[in-house]
Amino acid sequence: MKKYTLYPGCVMQTEQYGYELSIREVFPVLGVELVDVENFSCCGEPVKSINQLLTLYLSARNLAIAEQQGFDLFVPCSVCHFALSECKNILDNDGGMRSRVNEMLASEDLEYKGKVGVVHTVDLLYDHVGVKEIKKHVKKPLKGLKIASHYGCHLVRPSEIGRPVDSENPMKIEAVLEALGAETMDYAEKLDCCGGLLLVNLPESALTKTGQKLQAVEEHGFDGLVTVCPWCQRMFDSRQKKAGETVAAKLEVPVFYLTQLLGLAFGLDERKLGLDLNLSPVDKLKV
């Protein structure tokens, strides 16, 4: 068993329970042990518009807590993964900023040393576990299902700080889906944004983005959409009905977390994967 500290962020552990449930079910099957740690906080990215130093401090604080455990940090949220990666990038290259942040961390007896790596669901599956290992556990292949993948902006860009996937043509989710027996297809809107971060101040526009992408997925004839970020899922799945109203369309796109599809293909119990919490019509798909 390889050990990782799980960083749950805000959205997943306060609302998107389907992601957390399926992560906790699927990774042990793949030989990955997840370690829970107290004392984490928000990564800071959602309030970067207000105060960037606050964002940097919050990210550094979380990394410093993870360092006390010593295992690499598994960050399932793309937004958190971006914030922590950017923080690492800044503090590892800017000694001045690093000592400034460490001065502040000292009040909680924390120190950032830059010792832990940060991984996301996609590279944990594709690079650390590997497609070969995943295939070994498939009991119910997702045959005949054509699934669209949505990576989420924060996971894909910017490549200069090191992202787990290619910035213009990411294919790792497709590789995992194909290992599960599903079909994949490239589509023009694949890299379009879910609108999630705009929900804070311009909800109409945010939901329009969501609706437009879901319409495109429907028009391309996909059976479903897969996400790897709680912010994206809460737009495409939790708010699909609202998004449909916003773009004046009746949307019926089943939306899953990648880890939920893994669980289904592994023959795990739907309930344990939190599938009853998906609000999009996932029953349409008979796996």
Partner: protein
């Protein structure tokens, strides 16, 4: 400590004003050196079609010194932070980060913060997370709480007062 302390430091402070002015000057100097108006940022911008955000025009206006106008405009709040502009800029200007800086400056200058940012910030201050633990609905309209699902306790700052203390200090420090 209130949100106002953290975000605006409402009283006019000479030192703060100087700091803001210095940052504006730096912003302007760097942009003048690098951006050559290829508009690659705008061609990929997720907020362009929907909300008429045109990053290259904002860069041009900043170069011409219209910084206060940009800090006070609503358009800087339409960015979805998709990072396509930062990825694709051949000059590494990173309009998305310029927009973050402009928004930070607007907040520091005491401009009203749009949307739910304030409540998210308040929640981070009080419990370390952007929102409290939610009850959710299943597809067949049943209510589920986190603990019903067998999930462990949420991870949040153990010592809330120490956590808040640092954030207060951060507010006083210059961004």
């Amino acid at each position: 400590m209130s949100i106002k302390d953290l975000t605006s430091m409402a009283e006019a402070q000479v030192e703060l004003r100087e700091e803001i002015n210095n940052r504006l000057l730096r912003l302007q100097n760097e942009l003048s050196d690098y951006c050559f108006q290829c508009a690659k940022c705008t061609s990929g911008c997720e907020a362009h079609k929907l909300l008429e955000l045109e990053p290259h025009k904002i860069m041009a206006l900043l170069k011409r010194g219209l910084i206060d106008e940009m800090v006070n405009s609503d358009v800087i709040w339409t960015c979805m932070s998709c990072f396509k502009c930062r990825e694709r800029c051949p000059q590494k200007v990173s309009p998305v980060d310029v927009l973050f800086a402009l928004k930070n400056l607007a907040v520091m200058g005491g401009k009203q913060i749009p949307g739910n940012y304030t409540s998210m910030l308040q929640s981070i201050l009080s419990m370390g997370l952007i929102q409290d633990v939610q009850e959710v609905q299943t597809r067949d309209m049943k209510t589920r709480r986190r603990e019903d699902l067998g999930l462990p306790r949420v991870s949040k700052p153990k010592d809330a007062s120490k956590f808040q203390m640092v954030l207060t200090k951060l507010a006083v420090e210059k961004v």
